[in-house]
């Protein structure tokens, strides 16, 4: 992949100017970044419009811009599950998250684990929720790093360095992606990220709208695009008498992902940074505009097949390294003039940088509040707290870097689906606890969580981390289901059953510091 000077210049200017905007914005607002509430939560100050950009920038990630169209290009209709996923997550946002926002605001909670600790008076359960949040986010950050890596490589920044001792070093794009993210997160915090979310939103919409207009015109219309697609993958396969088939796994992936999404630390950070319940409710019907963009981007996957970028010699190296994840970058390079390709690449790059920064910030928050302050140094000063959060956010990025290198997956989407299996196991402690606190308690929730984590991880291992749909054999019927859902059902069953038993046996006092009116 040789660099096109025009494309590269436009890309570098836009990418670094946008990232620089984050630093500048933080300086201008004279925000005290040594305060965790400021660095990590933006002071709970964002109104409807900024929250729209920030949540949109936070939730629609390299998953949307790289992983989903890659799956559509490689596997067809299955990849479209991301569309129902990102539609169905909004009723969840509308109903559930305002309750969590209210109690967090009234009690000063910064993380989901803070809430769990307050609701059940259990440090152990809070630790489980915090640790799960961090572990589940690492593969999600890995997906963002991979997105940036692909963009840098696609722009031609992939020459091999011959280093003494180490030898040939191929991963320069990955290293650049990591450094940009690390430096950016450390200095900017959530205020700066809110500002560059606006730039991201604009860049993404410009690039996507141009793509869905320009490319079909070049190809002679949508009819020809779909005619060129593989007819066997254009629809989902039907089930048989003893196998529910791909239609079922499609629905389970959509539902499981929709339930998982708001449990992620970065989503909760985005939700808590909003200034009111109404901001969240309005965004439950304003944010689907980004889902519309996601659907269009998923269609780009079909267009990549119709254009045939995979077979073109100039993109052979990109495909060799990144597989189908290179589909959209290749399509942009092929279809756009160099300067516009540079702009579109900047959109993907910033599109991955924004959520990765928020993910790393939230992991820092979780570690500091629910592990460091809780178990290691209860009396630390706010300045130390903020410093620890920043160091921890760097550590999660390093772990993510390891993930990218270790799990060079043919479909980047598997990284996100893996995180989804784990984060779903916090649903009873975080979401069900908002509604049925008396039917649940710490022993039940902990055992349910443990059962969910063990079975979920076991299923992921048996799939060799290369997929997330586990075929469950039940009464002679094969049920191909997203492992997150299977593990979650077991988790919920055990959580309620053990809670019931624990209450019957011990009659332990309820240690709920929250009041019913805190949730309204």
């Amino acid at each position: 992949m040789s660099a096109n000077p025009v494309a590269l210049t436009v890309f570098l200017v836009l990418f670094f100017a946008t990232a620089g905007l984050g630093f500048y914005a933080t300086k201008m607002k004279s925000v005290n970044l040594s305060d965790l509430g400021q660095w990590g939560l933006g002071g709970r100050s964002f109104g409807t419009l900024i929250a729209w950009f920030l949540l949109g920038g936070d939730i629609y990630t390299a998953y949307t811009f790289v992983a989903v169209p890659a799956l559509v290009a490689g596997a067809g209709a299955t990849g479209f599950f991301a569309v129902p996923f990102t539609i169905l997550m909004y009723p969840v946002l509308f109903v559930v998250m305002p309750r969590l926002w209210s109690v967090a605001q009234k009690r000063g909670y910064v993380t989901a684990a803070d809430f769990v600790r307050g609701r059940f008076g259990s440090r152990g359960l809070a630790l489980a929720v915090a640790a799960t949040g961090i572990v589940a986010t690492i593969p999600y950050i890995a997906l963002q790093l991979m997105g940036m890596q692909i963009v840098f490589a696609g722009m031609g920044l992939n020459f091999t360095l011959n280093l003494p001792v180490i030898g040939a070093f191929h991963d320069l794009p990955l290293l650049v992606a990591f450094l940009v993210l690390a430096i950016y997160t450390y200095h900017s915090g959530l205020h700066g990220t809110a500002i560059i979310s606006v730039a991201k939103g604009i860049l993404v919409y410009v690039a996507v709208l141009a793509a869905v207009i320009v490319i079909p015109i070049e190809l002679g219309g949508y009819g020809k695009i779909f005619a060129a697609a593989d007819p066997s993958t254009l629809l989902l396969g039907h089930g048989t008498a003893n196998n529910l088939g791909p239609q079922f796994s499609f629905a389970s992936l959509a539902l499981g992902s929709a339930l998982a999404l708001w449990l992620y630390p970065h989503s909760i950070t985005g939700v808590f940074s909003s200034s009111s319940r109404s901001v969240l409710k309005r965004n439950a019907f304003l944010l689907p505009s980004f889902t519309f963009a996601l659907a269009l981007i998923a269609l780009l996957g079909v267009m990549a097949v119709a254009v045939g970028v995979k077979g073109m010699p100039e993109y052979a190296e990109g495909y060799r390294i990144f597989g189908n994840n290179f589909a959209i970058p290749a399509l942009f390079l092929h279809s756009f003039s160099p300067w516009f390709a540079g702009l579109a690449f900047a959109a993907i790059g910033v599109g991955a940088l924004v959520p990765a920064a928020i993910m790393a910030i939230s992991c820092g928050n979780l570690f500091t509040r629910n592990i460091y302050k809780e178990f290691i140094a209860p009396d630390c000063t706010p300045a130390t707290e903020s410093k620890v959060a920043k160091i921890m956010s760097l550590a999660t990025k390093l772990a993510a870097l390891f993930f990218v290198v270790a799990l060079q997956s043919s479909y980047a989407i598997n990284l996100q689906l893996l995180g989804g299996i784990w984060i779903c196991q916090t649903l009873p402690s975080v979401m069900l606890a908002l509604y049925t606190p008396r039917q649940l308690n710490a022993p039940g929730l902990l055992l349910g969580w443990l059962a969910g984590m063990v079975t979920g991880t076991w299923m992921a291992i048996s799939l060799q981390f290369k997929g997330a749909v586990y075929s469950l054999d039940l009464f002679g019927v094969t049920i191909p289901c997203y492992a997150a859902i299977i593990a979650l059902l077991l988790n919920i069953l055990i959580a309620y059953a053990v809670s019931f038993l624990a209450r019957a046996i011990t009659n332990a006092p309820v240690r709920d510091e929250t009041l019913a009116e805190d949730y309204l």
Binding site: P84, I87, V95, F285, F292
Partner: protein, 70 residues
């Protein structure tokens, strides 16, 4: 409003929030090619159109809650 509905907060308008789940999780409903629009198979445009229909289901619930001052 009487005390009971205030406490539980349930009103039929909330049923609208379930509609997208039925429309999108019952996959056989839309796993088909015809009818096409501009050459786009039903499977693809149906789901894309639901990004707007989902919003259309949420807005009445929002308006109801705002009027009630929740």
């Amino acid at each position: 409003m009487d005390e009971k509905t205030k406490k539980h907060g349930f009103h039929p308008v909330y049923l609208l929030l379930i509609v997208p789940f039925i429309a999108l999780l019952w996959v056989p409903l839309y796993n088909r090619i015809e009818p096409q629009i501009f050459g786009i198979p039903f499977f693809y445009w149906y789901q894309t159109v639901w990004t707007f229909l989902g919003t259309a289901c949420t807005i009445p619930v929002y308006l109801y809650e705002e009027r009630k001052g929740k």
